[in-house]
């Protein structure tokens, strides 16, 4: 997964559903650790703004 920062509202909803701890909200920037990510797409589902992309 990756983040489109132009669409992101940095709310952290995606962080809350990532049980691989692959997403972090670094102050106002969503950062995804692609090593930890298992492409489960949970983050995509809860994003209010469609900011997460494959």
């Amino acid at each position: 997964m990756k983040v489109n920062h132009e669409k992101c509202g940095y709310c952290g909803a995606c962080v809350g559903v990532c049980n691989k701890l692959a997403i972090e909200l670094v102050e106002n920037i969503i950062v995804i650790d692609t090593e930890k990510c298992n492409d489960c797409k949970s983050c995509m589902m809860v994003c209010p703004l469609n900011a997460l992309e494959e």
């Binding site: 509202g9 952290g12 962080v15 102050e27 809860v46 994003c47 209010p48 703004l49």
Partner: protein
Amino acid sequence: MRELINNANYDVVVVGAGPGGSMASYYASKNGAKTLLIEKSQEIGEPVRCAEAIPRLEDFGIIPDPQFVRNHIKGGYLIAPNGKKIEVKGGKTDGHVVERKIFDKYLAIRSARAGTKMAVKSRVVGLEHNGDGYDVIISHLGEEYTVKAKIVIAADGVESSVAEMAGLKSKKIPTQVCSCAEYEMTNVKLLDNEMMEFYFGDICPKGYAWIFPKGDTANVGLGVIDKNKKAIDYLNEFIEHPILEGRLKDATPIEFKCGGAPVGGPIEKTVDDNIMVVGDAAGQISPLSGGGIYLSMSCGSMAGEVAAKSIKNNNYSKDALIEYENRWKEKYYDILMAELKYKNVLQKLTENELNALADAMDEKLEEVDVKKIAFKAVKKAPSLLKYFKEII
């Protein structure tokens, strides 16, 4: 500031300066514990991710102050897809709409004045049990620091990473997280300047849309659970929806907010040796309304008190901290589980069924007694029985 986090020792380290964290640190400090409150943003309360309504601030000994209170609220309208309005007033519906970024900042200042030290622009990146407590690894301006804590209170909101780092299961299931988007708008024509508006139906599947009066503005938003369409798209449709009868025609946005509300009920374990979990991270949020500020503040207060007591007794094990879990569960667990059940029923209803339910309800209610409503509804519209039999 660096000396606050550079190899320092604390009794209690609270992670996250939202209402839950600030209340926890307030009571920990007030009761004598050496407390650090860590906030990753450089400004407390940023970004705002909330509809900003709070019931009965007075319960916490907090005087509604014009610096953060924007509107008094005396009730709400529940509005069915067919436009039928149910007016609810009194009791729990009484409250305020606040400016969250200032409210949160106020609570943090209140905690600091009680003795809490505070690290801002500081992010917890690791948690390591050291036998006697936790080493909390903090990133601040690109450098890593470590503080020692006898007790960690995880109040990091929907992100729920801190408790998970400590081995408690706090991450949420995506189908149990409401996606929220909101414009704060001015020039909104409200139904009533002191009443909240709640809209149900296909405009917002498995959630609801709201208009909350906020002084010179109004929060116009919604929370939805849907795999295919995004909250922002539902929101842009809602503000032009005929059910609003053009009341937003002249409105213009002033602010945009979004967020995820974890409405799946509380997590299983909220304490372990040297750690407690409060607020959204613990799922302490109404599954029905998505309201969480009151619960976070209440449970946060309990966690702070139990933390200070444990420090005094020199016992920070799970056995000591379980008092926090017992206390909050005694007060809120049954309510949360009942609301969870009601929510699951509500989410199944079609627009026709929602209309039938609304038509079965009185136009004015003093309080929402779900069992009574369900009973009356089934009497008028027996087809609803299949959903409500569990409730009745």
